[in-house]
Symmetry: D2
Subunit: 135 residues, 4 copies
């Protein structure tokens, strides 16, 4: 299991007239969390694309427990629970500064070979950085 944390400040443009973070913006927060989660492993999503794979999303789910608000400094805890194969699942929990859990969600992505457009195994370099967490 691999767990990481990242922080993200809510932008004004991400709120809506209800005064909450618009429900459609959490997927973008998940993306930031995934990308920073990989960066902390020593590998960027950008590098993965440069190795010839892309990672389109297959499924995405959100539970809205309590609204995030403008200027909140959110903590996002990202978990990869199972060793990734052709598919990789990220789970997220989002907390505000008071430690209140606001949101949880998950995203299922698939590795795709950019040349063939077909699902593929993750690059070896990716397996290697994750290996210590799945023994």
């Amino acid at each position: 299991m691999y767990i990481s944390e990242t922080h993200l400040r809510v932008r004004y443009g991400e709120t809506d007239q209800m005064g909450y973070v618009y429900y459609g913006n959490y997927a973008s927060y998940f993306e930031v969390a995934r990308v920073e989660s990989l960066r902390q492993l020593g590998m960027t999503y950008k590098e993965l694309e440069e190795m010839g794979v892309m990672m389109p999303v297959l499924e995405n789910k959100s539970k809205y427990l309590s609204p995030a608000l403008y200027d909140d400094n959110l903590k996002i805890v990202t978990t990869i629970r199972e060793k990734p194969g052709v598919r990789i699942r990220f789970e997220y929990e989002i907390y505000n500064e008071a430690g209140k859990k606001l949101h949880q969600g998950e995203t299922l992505l698939v590795f795709v070979n950019k040349t063939t457009g077909r699902p593929c195994k993750p690059p070896k370099a990716f397996d290697k950085v994750l290996e210590p967490f799945f023994q």
Copy 2:
């Protein structure tokens, strides 16, 4: 059961560098579909807010079957399967012009009294427009 259809043109800014509609934009498409679904019933979400309720989202789910592309004229089929109470669930299916199903999802929302901030029954006027579809 209430079923409606709406159309929506993919904007350039909604694509990402993969050349697909960014996965985080479907929630916004769902919102357009919900709102147009209500408008076709003769009631706008704006009017609902003016009646003193708001409708925050509790859950949102997406399955990405095939990517939507720039300038696609998407058809979104929106279904309310069960008579809404304090909660209301919308289901969506998104098709491209060739009739290929690209995406499916659902959103669970709750009626909240704007004054008390507490969950509440939908306004009578809302029940009335939906009544013919749930007999």
Copy 3:
């Protein structure tokens, strides 16, 4: 001079907690207006990209006269005042349903050859559809 009109409905996610359309969303509205403006000429921006050009933006300007609101059905009047060369300028005026002018802006774009990455003349087919308006 070529003038066209398009309509666009304000989405909930485009508002912010001020209750207005977020100031950053007008550029996206301009994009919709440009694209529909070309479509009315019988040429899509998508086709232009398929002809081997892309059109990155050089400059963008907005004046916020009065806020657009949720669910407003905006009318956008788009004007190409001068015959386009390597560069093309679009001007916009945005009105609400009551006919009140809410916004004006302009965008300067450049034709770029996708292969060379260099500025280029617009495709002949593009000149041809615009020709009747610049004689």
Copy 4:
């Protein structure tokens, strides 16, 4: 004159199929820069709203010198050149990690009393934190 710096990482969802940051996302970057600029002064935009003012935008301008790319860690230099009165102007310059200037822009905002809806002077507390920079 007050100058500050902030950093911002380009999100995947902010790119478009040209492979660049979508031109409409710079206004959101400007917002982040303004907000962090104020925070460095010891005052948040959130606090300003809590003091009873809001700051709608009157004008916004962008020059796109060179595209920002996915995962770029942008540096935004924000300048308030003139002592703010009822209006306040922010200027921005955006650089990539190699130090290349990619973008410049400016935003003109107005202080508005939330109760009356009318333009007003900035709160005293705001004048005070800016005072040292405009003597």
